[in-house]
Amino acid sequence: MATYSVQTRTRASSGFAVFATLAIVLLILLPFFAGRSTIQDMFFILTMLVLAQFWNLLAGYGGLVSIGQQAFVGMGAYAMFGAVILLGVDPVPSILLAGVAALIIAVPTAFFAFRLQGAYFAIGTWVIAEVFRLLVAQWKTLGGGTGTSLPRSATREMWFTDAIKTLFDVKASAARDILAYWLALVLALATIGGIYWLLRTRRGLALAAVRDNTEAAKSIGVDAARMKWVVFLTSAFGTGLAGGLIYMQKVRISPDAAFSVTDWTAYVIFIVVIGGIGTIEGPILGVLIFFALQSLLADFGSWYLMTLGVLAIVIMLIAPRGLWGLISERTGAHLFPIRRRLTGGELDQLED
């Protein structure tokens, strides 16, 4: 009697797991052999990857296209600055507060934005992000519209920087970059791992069901409204953490920069669309392409953004599942498999 079993693992994913472990070890050790500019580039790539993964969770899995993620980056960053400047907390633990602050403002944001559907939801989140930007610009103790910097005393005595300074024998500013890089690496790995875990749980299955057909999912008992809240709040929290971390490394903040729709939402959307929306692999591929394009076209100013925009339009029209979608269609490869496949029993004989 043949037995059936449900599998998610594929041959490619098992091979990839070995490769990924090696890559992670390499990335942890990177500061020992890479220069400061490489570390800064990698920090940028990793933080953009985190933002992209969370936007992808929202739009690709939750069907919630937000153009207001800059609200959570900005609010997270300002909460981090507020904790350091007003309460005297160390910047490193303040990053956690950044996530919490983003989570807190996500509740009223969702309350308003969920009254709008589809495209109107998108612009609604944008309006709310503008409201937060304008409100923060009124906050005079944190520099109002012109912004402020982290006090030197806070950045000098930041946790772990002394240890990193002695370990690598570098200046305090370089040590801060290495610290930020490691934190970004931890955040990126936790994000990818966490989203992968979420998608493989019952809740992830419910999410995919809601995305594919809301009415059908509801009819078999999935609480679609609750899934929207879970996804929205999760991604606000993660985006807020990334915001706090990004501005811990930047050290200087202003409302226009921290709540920039181009930097924290447009780029992120392009990364996800080009890489492949609705997959975990897509944003990883997308951020690498994004970085390569930026390095190539950085000197051409606005041509760079135009290229990204045109590329995103073309991809959306001819390959809506992005470059990773094309690759996995051709090769059948899934590095982070979430699809449950029935194997064994008579199915195996059918395949032959």
Partner: protein, 287 residues
């Protein structure tokens, strides 16, 4: 008295926002497409008029007559060759394509015209004002408001009095059945976007005459237009005018209290309406 003046200025400003919003509302009403590049198209229209004014030495209102067919053609082509491909059940393609278009337009304008702010040349008429009782009203704001009303009346006439309007309504209700009756939805959509861009050109004229503009002001115009549409209720053009007026009054009253609060109070008025009347003040459509 100063408050009456502030409120009247706000009402007239609302006419400008209704002009921004009418094109957005038209396109959404017919094909359920929200064009995130709408604000940038208004700014593009303003630059087009500026180019016509500078190159041909035309007064802005005459330049508008030249801009109208160009904008219609641009809108027709945009819809026919790009946006029609994105229509369907999935909401992602139209959103992401028009968002990409918005970024492309902004940066193309930045490349072509630099980030310097521009203004259309004004003459005696545009800076004149008339005394209405104790109030001094600018001719320009009055003209804007009158144009908004004219555009709304014109659109309503088009919808309910012409065969094109009947085709618009039929396609909006059920594109497949309409196509059985010999209507080509793809062309109807293209014509609708063409007309929307004609309204955009009119809005662009007043934008350029009344304030400075630069390539980056598009998204804010989109947001005002969107707020006016939502406050008014989807599908109601007169509602959109009321929505524009509410945003306009909120902004001028906010600015009178504290200049830094101008934009913020407009957004807050929008959120209040969203809180108490999620479907807008005069809802008609069911989606």
């Amino acid at each position: 008295m100063i408050w009456v003046d502030t409120i009247v200025q706000g009402i007239l400003l609302g006419g400008l926002y209704a002009l921004f919003a009418a094109g957005l509302s038209l396109v959404f009403g017919i094909m359920r497409l929200v064009n995130l590049a709408h604000g940038d198209l208004i700014v593009m229209g303003a630059y087009l008029i500026l180019v016509l004014v500078t190159l041909l030495g035309l007064p802005p209102f005459v330049a508008l007559l030249f801009a109208v067919p160009l904008m219609f053609a641009f809108g027709w082509g945009l819809q026919k060759f790009l946006l029609n491909r994105t229509l369907g059940d999935d909401i992602l393609p139209p959103l992401l394509v028009t968002f990409g278009l918005s970024i492309v337009l902004q940066n193309a304008l930045l490349e072509g015209f630099s980030a310097d702010s521009q203004r259309l040349p004004t003459d005696a008429l545009t800076t004149a004002s008339v005394a209405v009782g104790p109030l001094n009203l600018g001719v320009m704001p009055l003209l804007t408001f009158a144009s908004a009303i004219a555009v709304i009346i014109g659109l309503n006439q088009l919808f309910y009095r012409t065969s094109l309007g009947r085709a618009f309504r039929a396609t909006s209700d059920d594109a497949v059945t309409a196509s059985l009756m010999g209507i080509k939805p793809a062309n109807i959509f293209a014509t609708a976007t063409g007309i929307a861009l004609v309204i955009v050109a009119i809005a662009a004229l007043y934008l350029g005459l009344r304030s400075n503009f630069d390539p980056n002001v598009g998204p804010a115009r989109l947001i005002y237009a969107f707020e006016a549409v939502i406050i008014g209720g989807l599908g109601s053009l007169w509602g959109t005018l009321v929505g524009g007026i509410i945003i306009g009054v909120a902004q001028t009253v906010g600015a009178a209290l504290n200049p830094e609060w101008q934009i913020l109070s407009g957004h807050l008025a929008f959120l209040v309406v969203l809180l108490v009347r999620p479907r807008g003040l005069f809802p008609r459509a069911h989606d």
